[in-house]
Chain length 356, copies 2
Amino acid sequence: MSRFLSSEARCLFPYTPGEQPRDQQYIKLNTNESPFPPSPEVLKAVTQTETGRLYLYSDPTCAALNGAIAERYGLQSENVITGNGSDEILAFAFRAFCGKGRGAAFADITYGFYEAQAALFGLEALRVPLREDFTLNIEDYINLSATVVIANPNAPTGMTVPVTDIRRLLEHDPNRVVIVDEAYVDFGAESCVPLIQEFENLLVTQTMSKSRSLAGGRIGFALGARELIEDLNRVKYSFNPYNVNRLSLLAGAAAVKDEDYFQACCRAVQDNRTWTMKALEVRGFTVLPSSANFIFAKSDRISGGELYRKLKENGILVRWFDRDRIRDFVRVTIGSREQMVVLIDTIDRIGLRNEK
Amino acid sequence: MSRFLSSEARCLFPYTPGEQPRDQQYIKLNTNESPFPPSPEVLKAVTQTETGRLYLYSDPTCAALNGAIAERYGLQSENVITGNGSDEILAFAFRAFCGKGRGAAFADITYGFYEAQAALFGLEALRVPLREDFTLNIEDYINLSATVVIANPNAPTGMTVPVTDIRRLLEHDPNRVVIVDEAYVDFGAESCVPLIQEFENLLVTQTMSKSRSLAGGRIGFALGARELIEDLNRVKYSFNPYNVNRLSLLAGAAAVKDEDYFQACCRAVQDNRTWTMKALEVRGFTVLPSSANFIFAKSDRISGGELYRKLKENGILVRWFDRDRIRDFVRVTIGSREQMVVLIDTIDRIGLRNEK
């Protein structure tokens, strides 16, 4: 920290991304990437000819990509904004819909980035505790003045909030924006996108980093009423007008058009999730119900930190959060079946095979 | 604008990027892109194999790219941060080094984005008038408490501030950061990078959008003392940890390593600039001295707006700013020699051939 750092920046809570050690090859089950390569259509779209055009700016309006996303979700382009990952989109939303007198409210156990971004704009952050069983009680959010952010499915638990609950919130407090972060929705949860036509206070964010196998392309988007999207563009054009690069614009559009590949990848992840959950439960683990491409699991016979370390020693990276309420758990990304088999074999090898 | 927009976001000044009309093919001399494709090394780096790896996140530390940049500039990796274009880096710097009681000071005629970004963080913006001849009087910045941002060369004038002036500012006010935006420095201006070893209050930003022919790759970077870079990373990890996508990391490293190609492109732009300036001066234009890949020119015989419109009718896009002090000028990006020949022919055709 330099002596020049502003007092505002001293109050930040920088997010720690999942580790990416380079000392050896790991099976990476710690950052919720897809185990599958991007659609073959992406490889066809990112050509040498297009790489040769990188001397030209990207389209600041992201017209082709937004059009493809709009078509996929039955919306108009005016209902879509694309960003450099959904993290950027979330930052735009915090700036647009929060400020003095209107903070941000989110669960105590959720994506750690909401807290970081609230601090970025000096916003009041209201952490609303989940119930003991990690379910979200929508009544806790009724009548709050803060803008609400709900990850659905939630991270790192993988658990969902019923869309009927979110509808109740939207109806009850029409003068307050609800942001539903659907980064993991494609792995079996119900989406709030159909509610967009009905509620002008609903913003849904999604990402191509998980179900579209494009984490390294950095493409996130938000869907909502035209006026909300205009507000987000107002922030975007005050921050970085050319926020999505040329090749990602192409890759994203190709990915979103390949519905069959997308469906096949999502199904495979769900199958592997079911298999892995059963294998862990047989071994005495408690696994929270997951609708995401990861599971949150704990064992009475080993602490979360110890399990994380033993798996890492054996070449498998999972994510462990050294935080109250969730310290006993590890978050395990659902990889390919082969990776999941190695995970379970390793768990047996480190002595957690069920003795029953 | 929705009724949900925060009062902070209502005060934004969104930046208007150069137009990108799609009604016909234009000779684009309006956004200061390079007329040359990226280095052949870039095409070699962005392979199908690498595109196939987009399912994995990019390296949040940008280690390989930062290492390549550091080597090119005789610095260490700890002196480098890379962003999604230098606009993102500038935003990080505004958040890190400005706040309550410390606004941002910049010229009245300069890159319009400083104003937009200052507003993004609710900062006080101090616009310091350039002299009548558009030169910057460094004395105006001495003893200001605000963080200073100087575009060198300046946009849209193309004119430079002597490095000795910036040195004087750094020496005189060691407790205040000076940000030197060197987006256009490679086209003939003197860089402040050698001063980094000497001054812990100097941050230099650069971009690969111009001299490295990678506008569509969105790669900007800042160079400075380790502590300043740490501060910027603090903001980055509160905003978007994976801020540079995988393919741009590769493209950027390949571009920065191809010194010969870079030098050849910069020389060609300078040659074309000299040729174009002479051709315009022969035709009675006033052209400001430019060290950038654009020129700022006006004619007594046609208004800036009219020249912009006539060129557009003839298939050539240039940039015109409908603003006090510079309304008479157009900003013309230096393109290929062929493009410059068409520009001059068109100027003659629309009746601005010198009658002398």
